[in-house]
């Protein structure tokens, strides 16, 4: 492999990392800030993708579909929080595991009933459908770069929201001490509902803008679930910065792993996670 | 003066840029109650945590019977004979009072890792647990679930668990906090009784109790030792008077 291809692989790794960040950003919020183990994160991702597909085929436009779908997922998130998750905050994590495991089954079956078991595709928006030539026979899809851009924007927005805004301050305070925030007269219940809904919407949004790239398939959620947890855990729970760093690390490790040591490529992510956690049990950017 | 059983030399703890305990040197002797006082945030609890191994010191030494134990883990230090109670009640709420004490007693025996015999089958562990409960005045509560005890009783259980590990050094972090006058009185009596064969470090805000039991007094402010000596010396210290604007009431701060 010559230098040019090493550089392209580097680009692949970074771009894949961005994609991972995008997919796991919702989990960073729900898992990191609210401390909820949400196994159904992948299901929200799937719901987003199916919504994008069905609305895009109705309206003929992905952007319109996303604009319609996001409010729907926010409502879904709020409803789930109010009806289900609210009852579990004070309980052991295990009940969240149980509840969200049940949710996976429910969502997967509802998907089967509503949308069927087919594989679907969503067309890349015409505006972004071009490719940029890299070598004589390889080019890079603009849509992938656009997703990277969206991902950077999202990372920045999340960072600003959590670190710089009043709402973010309340969220952070609520994460570290629920009772204290409550006693300050802040409506912690509302904040939790909001954060959870944001988490659901982010997961679904990732599914939506990833749909043209990944195609829309049954069980697509369970495939991304574990990797999302790996991202959040390696990065350090509650750290947007950490999630970004971990995503890029994993992206690069998987890319070069697949190329250089294909025999053990499947293991690489988990070896990476084990090494990081043994070295820093609280993750790269986690609080001790 | 007898050789101290435990002493610190230049003990320091930093949290990032914050120095919580700065260059503290003090010693504890069997037969003596050494009281540490100071305003909130003076570093008293951090000091206790450094001695008990709950936190590793950033610098300095902790010498227990001639051996530097700084940096050892809390269970190692505990097994060397240093027992502590916690400022916030730290017991096994779902267990019975007796089981709380029994577990504590169990930690001191070679049976601790035994896998087959029934836990209650060891007479000497049971006896030690009962003795500790009796000493702490909780003998009549042995069968109750710890979570159902009153706050004062839970504080007593905290001490009982500490005693059941048969320590020679006792680190008591505000044992009177939240206790009524009657319970406080009983605790003071208990501490006095324990003084004979224990070296005790007591952190306390209740000045009546402090002066009732203290053989020596150390005043901490901002992580540093402001003054250390007999209660009379400390009371007379101009530095302490200056720091506290002259009123011993203010020492409650």
């Amino acid at each position: 492999m010559d230098l040019a291809f090493i550089l392209i692989q580097l680009l692949n790794g970074l771009q894949y990392g961005m994609l991972l960040f995008l997919v796991s950003s919702g989990l960073t919020l729900v898992f990191g800030i609210m401390g909820i183990i949400n196994l159904a994160h992948g299901s929200f991702y799937m719901v987003g993708a199916y919504l994008a597909w069905s609305l895009a085929s109705m309206t003929g436009n992905l952007a319109t579909a996303i604009a319609i779908a996001i409010p729907l997922t926010v409502v879904l998130g709020m409803a789930l929080e109010k009806l289900l998750f609210r009852q579990l905050y004070t309980r052991d994590h295990l009940y969240q595991v149980l509840l969200t495991y049940g949710l996976i089954l429910v969502f997967e079956e509802l998907r089967s009933i509503i949308w069927g078991d087919d594989v679907h595709g969503v067309a890349v928006p015409a505006l972004l459908s071009a490719s940029i030539p890299l070598t004589d026979n390889l080019s890079y899809p603009v849509y992938r770069l656009a997703i990277s851009g969206v991902c950077l924007l999202l990372a920045f927005a999340l960072y600003v929201l959590i670190q710089k805004t009043r709402l973010g301050m309340m969220i952070r305070a609520g994460a570290s001490n629920r009772d204290m925030v409550q006693s300050l007269g802040i409506d912690i219940k509302f904040i939790y509902t909001l954060v959870f809904a944001m988490g659901v919407a982010l997961a679904a949004f990732a599914g939506m803008i990833n749909a043209p790239l990944s195609s829309v398939t049954p069980n697509m959620g369970s495939h991304v679930l574990i990797i999302c947890f790996v991202v959040v855990v390696i990065g350090g729970i509650g750290s947007v910065k950490g999630a970004m760093a971990a995503s890029l690390m994993i992206g690069l490790a998987e890319t070069f792993g697949t190329v250089l040591v294909p025999e053990v490529a499947g293991m690489i992510v988990y070896v990476l996670m084990a090494i990081v956690l043994v070295w820093r049990p609280e993750g790269l950017f986690g609080r001790k | 003066m007898a050789e101290p059983i435990l002493r610190t030399e230049g003990l320091t703890k930093r949290f990032g840029g914050l120095v919580a305990v700065s260059d503290v040197s003090l010693d504890l002797q069997v037969g003596e109650v050494h009281v540490v006082i100071g305003p909130n945030g003076a570093g008293k609890s951090t000091l206790t945590n450094l001695l008990s191994g709950d936190l590793p010191p950033s610098a300095g030494r902790v010498v227990l019977e001639g051996r530097d134990i700084a940096g050892l883990s809390s269970d190692q230090i505990s097994r060397m004979g240093v027992g502590r109670s916690y400022q916030k009640t730290n017991i096994f709420l779902p267990f019975t009072v007796f089981e709380n004490a029994r577990l504590a007693a169990q930690s001191r025996t070679p049976h601790a890792m035994r896998v087959f015999g029934r836990a209650e089958a060891y007479a000497e562990i049971n006896a030690r647990a009962s003795a500790a409960l009796d000493a702490a005045g909780l003998g009549h509560r042995a069968g109750r679930v710890a979570a159902t005890l009153s706050h004062g009783e839970q504080r007593q259980l905290e001490i009982a668990m500490c005693l059941a590990t048969q320590p020679r050094v006792l680190l008591l972090d505000e044992p009177l906090a939240g206790m009524g006058p009657h319970e406080s009185q009983r605790m003071v009596e208990l501490i006095k009784k324990l003084t004979a064969d224990h070296a005790i470090m007591l952190i306390e805000h209740d000045m009546d109790a402090v002066f009732a039991v203290a053989h020596r007094l150390t005043v901490m402010v901002n992580g540093e030792v402001l003054e250390s000596g007999t209660p009379e010396q400390v009371r007379a210290s101009p530095a302490v008077q200056a720091a506290y604007l002259g009123g011993e009431e203010m020492l409650h701060g």
Partner: protein
């Protein structure tokens, strides 16, 4: 001490009743119950970690699969291996894996612990899935069931369904009583203490790490026992037996049955399998049976929301807190 006497005798009665089961002469149900008893061992081994030591492992299938693959790979290919050495060797491998990974994973707590245990299990999954070592993703056969001979006499013929059933029942009962014994011992009490208040245990002078490691290894060995028996039962192992779904399933069994109660783990294993059998039964639910996982999902959610102590808690009518229950359960 009515309930004490009950908790002393009831398990024996249950074991006795189970022992009669093969008399019904239903090959299928004998095999099914064998399988569920094996899952009960699996669930109890995890309950030791989750319910009693406070170690929420999300990678427990690693041991289940490891022991199965150990049996498949250790024995001579076309001849029967002796259980006398393959079983201890399989469990030994599980213990070694538990000790090595335990040294690393026990440095982490809470959510991190859940994830690191998952990471190690996934690594093992890919070892068997991606390499030819154990037949890759299609799995590998164990051509002949192990033998259990004493000299020249066949002590237990594992080829015979009912004899294998009784052997599994023996191991299930042995696991139950062994764990009960251990949990009632000084060691076991310390484990529960660690679950309730790890920090305090340390301050009392307990070398917490060693206790956790010992518990982790024991849980791994018993998990391995179930995996070994499962591999013997059908003579087939596949990477899927150590996937995270399998780890998730056994965790569901433990929580469904009621954490921190050994009999809860057994009940959970039975309930889980039974639920699936009933819900996916086309004769009863017709077309709707195709979507049996929907009903399963809803039931699981209801348990999470309204039955925190699981089925075992339901049986006790919510009378006691799980921990108090744990201590009583440790009688015996």
């Amino acid at each position: 001490m009515n309930s004490g006497a009950l908790s002393r005798w009831l398990p024996w009665v249950v074991v006795g009743l189970f022992a009669l089961f093969p008399m019904l002469e239903s090959t299928f149900y004998t095999q099914l119950v064998t399988k569920v008893l094996i899952m009960a061992i699996f669930a109890m081994s995890l309950d030791l970690l989750v319910g009693y030591t406070g170690l929420v492992s999300f990678g427990h299938a690693a041991y289940f699969g490891l022991a199965g693959y150990a049996l498949a790979l250790m024995g001579p290919k076309y001849e029967a291996a002796s259980l006398w050495w393959t079983l201890p060797a399989s469990l030994g491998i599980c213990v070694v894996f538990a000790l090595v990974t335990g040294l690393l994973v026990l440095r982490t707590r809470g959510i991190y612990f859940i994830m690191v245990t998952l990471a190690f299990a996934q690594m093992l999954f890919f070892v068997f899935h991606d390499t030819k070592l154990g037949g890759g993703s299609d799995g590998i056969y164990i051509y002949a069931k192990p033998t259990m001979n004493l000299g020249e006499t066949v002590l237990v013929n594992l080829e015979k369904l009912d004899q294998f059933y009784w052997l599994v029942l023996f191991f299930t009962a042995a696991t139950y009583f062994l764990l009960r014994r251990i949990l009632g011992s000084s060691f076991g009490r310390a484990l529960v203490g660690i679950k309730v208040n790890e920090h305090r245990m340390r301050a009392l002078g307990f070398p917490v790490f060693r206790y956790q490691l010992a518990s982790f290894a024991l849980g791994g060995a018993l998990g391995g026992l179930s995996g070994y028996l499962a591999a013997v039962q059908f003579g087939f192992v596949n990477p899927e037996i150590l996937s995270w779904h399998q780890s998730g399933m056994v965790l569901m069994m433990v929580i469904l049955g009621g954490m921190g109660t050994l009999h809860g783990a057994v009940i959970g294993a039975f309930a889980f399998v039974l639920l699936q059998e009933v819900l996916s039964n086309q004769a009863w639910f017709g077309i709707a049976a195709k979507h049996w996982q929907l009903a399963m999902g809803i039931l699981i959610m209801l348990v999470a929301l309204y039955m925190p102590q699981g089925l075992a808690g339901l049986m006790n009518g919510f009378r006691r807190k799980p921990q108090a229950e744990a201590e009583e359960g440790a009688d015996g």
